[in-house]
Subunit: 176 residues, 2 copies
């Protein structure tokens, strides 16, 4: 499935082709790329995700489980929720996710970036991040931040994220 | 005015003594500490701040000015807005500020922490931060984060914030 890689290197993944996937579908797709086998990858900004499907995606990369009640609340109060879908015929599958908190004016912080292992290393994480950054920029957010696990610092670096620019340090509060 | 310092080392600054300062006053004071000269320092969670007064405070520490329209929007969409007041008799003065963005469930990020230079080095920054952390904790937020300028890393460190715990790196997006 390496063919996705070249497809996603350009900016086509963030082109705004609005469409509804299925009638009565809560997915409002805003970016679509077609692949050679008739399958396509779509992005959606819906908050109406099936939380069990999201949990399955997070399980697949080994993240520890979180109470669905809190996940629902976090989704409601995120500024941006981005989901990435693999769609072939009438079938669709949630294969990626990212969200951001924000003050809607100056700052946004991206959390929970994930691509399903079956779809990793094909340029889709990059597309997902580019799509997310694009949405934040078009909402006039100038300061886009995140906290990166050590093994993904390079991944974000290739996307234009810098570690500790001007000596600014990410800090976490740890109760005694 | 060094007497504030000892007053604020304990937890009394975050004790919940609700009161209204002046009749019709939008300040809902939730933490008060009295000082020997009859003055007191109060904390408030109101979003109804005079933005010019806030701008004056930020000017005093040399921060670059931001459009008030955006500041207003950021205040509206912050999870928590904390202001710190010096009150003596009928006079009151905004002397400190902090705010946090959050998904209301897992993460909060603290921004724009400031104490007026006239009131710095007396333990008030520490009180302001403790008050803020306290409010976030009581809202059941487990992950409290921030991005610290190099000269204030030690300040946050003393409050229990760690730089890059487990190698997690703060990153900022810089457009090419
Ligand atoms: C991190 C993650 C989202 C990357 O998604 P992906 O679809 O595999 O990434 P891509 O294929 O788009 O890779 C884009 C680029 O980053 C590089 N890259 C991908 N993962 C990387 C990593 N862990 N370290 C360094 N570089 C990485 C790729 O080689 C590629 O480089 P190129 O543009 O030169 O070809 C995915 O691996 C994942 O979900 N991991 C588990 C969850 C996780 O750790 N999330 C981040 C939490 S902070
Ligand atoms: C940073 C700031 C909020 C601290 O407020 P403050 O009221 O002066 O701080 P406090 O008096 O409560 O200091 C608490 C402790 O931190 C220490 N401290 C204060 N500022 C410090 C600094 N810049 N570097 C290292 N330690 C510092 C104090 O010595 C004190 O230590 P102690 O508990 O051992 O006595 C204030 O200096 C300020 O507004 N600075 C300008 C704006 C700014 O830089 N904000 C942060 C942006 S990320």
């Amino acid at each position: 499935m390496v063919f996705w890689k070249s497809l996603f290197n350009g900016s086509e993944s963030t082109s705004a082709s609005k469409e509804t996937l299925f009638s009565g579908d809560p997915l409002e797709v805003t970016g679509t790329t077609y692949a050679e086998n008739g399958a396509r990858i779509c992005f959606s900004l819906t908050r109406e995700l099936d939380l069990y499907e999201l949990e399955e995606l997070c399980d697949a990369v080994g993240w520890s489980r979180r109470p669905l009640r809190k996940v629902r609340k976090a989704m409601e109060h995120s500024f941006l929720v981005v989901s990435m879908w693999y769609i072939k015929g009438a079938k669709r599958r949630l294969i990626g996710f990212a969200r951001a908190t924000s003050d809607h004016a100056f700052n946004a912080t991206i959390w929970d970036v994930v691509v399903h292992p079956d779809f990793q290393s094909q340029g889709l994480g990059k597309s997902l991040m580019k799509y997310t950054i694009d949405k934040l920029r078009s909402a006039d957010i100038s300061n886009i931040t995140l906290f990166a696990d050590p093994q993904v610092v390079d991944f974000y670096n290739r996307l234009g994220f810098l570690v500790d620019p001007e000596g600014i340090k990410g800090m976490f509060w740890y109760p005694d």
